[in-house]
């Protein structure tokens, strides 16, 4: 399980108080690069689409091409994979689009900051280290009226800048909701409001559940295939015995010089049993191959699950090393406020 701290930038932006210097430069990742990140996620969705189509093609292989129980099992499996991969494709697309949209949010924020800076410069406020500085806090009571007016004007300008900055932050946060929602909907990661931490647990839980379901499904398929192979083999054994007896009987008849018609009838019967046996052997061979395949798949699925479960303590340890530091260094703010 991976845990992510509350977003540090948002916490920092919460700290802005009237009278503080106001940051007026965009110093985050370029919006264009965020946009490109979203594009790359959508391109991946396009590649997943290829797999979606391939699964669909396998799932809809016609009876003329491939028939029988093995074919039905294959179609059903491919059908499930088709649905799963279509979901992954939709999730990638949805999140990619949300990231693209979020890059516009950042772009608007950057423009807003540029305008803020221009306004402050126009009002004659001090801009240093990419920040708008407040005017001096106090002015002497006996200062000339002109200076007092200028001081008051500066504070009003500063107040305007402060309010604009808060508005920019709040507008950005409102737009961020869409991204947060997309992350929860499509990727199963979400800020955990109760614990004041971001918890990205769903994806892993789903993986475990998925692995278990898969292992159980494969195991069931293997058992069923094994049963079918056993039944087919029993049929073959039975027919072998019958053929053997019929041949013995035929031999006795020939030695006893029975009438040709009677011998012919017995020979026909031997031939019929033999044909049946040949067919049964083919079926048994096929059933055995299917059983082997299903068993191999079941083993693989069980191994996947085992590997994943073996990986769990490591993840728990990660979490344990992370938590004390977080509790010690970090006083969680109110999330509702943070989300605007």
């Amino acid at each position: 399980m991976t845990k992510v701290l509350v977003d540090a930038i948002e916490v920092q932006q919460d700290g802005l108080r009237f009278g503080d210097p106001i940051g007026c430069s965009y110093h985050w990742l370029e919006p264009d690069r965020v946009d490109a990140y979203g594009d790359s996620v959508r391109r991946l969705a396009g590649k997943v689409e290829l797999a979606v189509d391939a699964f669909e093609r396998t799932a809809t292989i016609s009876e003329e091409v491939f028939a029988g129980e093995a074919a039905d099992a294959l179609r059903a499996r491919a059908g499930r994979r088709h649905e799963e991969s279509a979901t992954v494709r939709d999730n990638l697309r949805g999140l990619g689009r949300a990231i693209n949209a979020y890059s516009d949010v950042l772009r608007r924020h950057r423009e807003g900051l540029e305008q803020l800076r221009a306004y402050a410069a126009g009002q004659g406020l001090e801009i240093r280290d990419h920040r708008i500085w407040p005017p001096v806090e106090t002015i002497a009571g006996d200062a000339p009226q002109k200076e007092r007016d200028a001081w008051e004007r500066d504070w009003k300008s500063y107040q305007q800048c402060f309010e604009t900055k808060i508005e920019l932050r709040d507008a950005r946060r409102v737009s961020t909701r869409e991204l947060i929602k997309a992350l929860a909907d499509y990727a199963g990661v979400h800020p955990d409001k109760d614990k004041h931490q971001l918890v990205a647990a769903d994806a892993h839980q789903v993986t475990f559940g998925e692995l278990r379901r898969e292992a159980a499904e494969e195991a069931l398929e293997a058992v069923q295939a094994g049963d079918r192979a056993d039944a087919a083999q029993r049929t073959v054994d039975g027919l072998k015995r019958r053929e053997h007896n019929a041949l013995d009987h035929l031999e006795d008849m020939v030695l006893a010089e029975r009438p040709p018609a009677e011998i012919q009838a017995q020979a026909d019967q031997v031939a019929a049993i033999h044909r049946e046996l040949t067919e049964a052997r083919v079926e048994a061979r096929e059933a055995e191959a299917v059983a082997d395949r299903e068993q191999a798949q079941a083993n693989r699925a069980a191994r996947d699950l085992e590997d994943a479960e073996a990986g769990k303590p490591r993840l728990v340890a990660d979490q344990a090393t992370w938590e004390p530091a977080a509790v010690k260094d970090f006083e969680p703010p109110n999330l509702e406020d943070r989300l605007g």
């Binding site: 292989i61 003329e64 979020y102 990727a187 020979a267």
Partner: protein, 100 residues
């Protein structure tokens, strides 16, 4: 058991499509470049994208599994052809048995 009909070329076509999709998808997995520079909600965003990339990786594995299952079927039917041939030979020999 139902009769088996088979068109190996069509089956192989489906298998090749799965293999090609897997290759394409696998190379695209490496093309995702997670941003290192900071911006609000980067960590959560990267976390989300990573989890979806993991899902996409699972799909490559599933492509391979289904492709392998098709492959096994194709081999089975090659063997079946041989067995049917052998059975026909045995049946022909049996017909030549003179019961008298």
């Amino acid at each position: 058991m139902r009769p088996i009909a088979i068109n190996q070329r069509a089956l192989r076509g489906a298998k090749e499509e799965l293999d090609a999709a897997r290759e394409d998808l696998r190379s695209a997995l490496g093309d995702i470049d997670h941003p290192a520079d900071d911006f609000p909600w980067r960590d959560l965003m990267v976390e989300g994208v990573r989890s979806l990339v993991d899902d996409a990786e699972v799909i490559t594995r599933k492509c391979r599994n289904i492709s392998a299952a098709i492959d096994d079927s194709i081999v089975d039917f090659d063997e079946l052809d041989i067995m049917v041939g052998q059975a026909a030979t045995v049946a022909a020999k049996l017909d030549q048995v003179d019961p008298r």
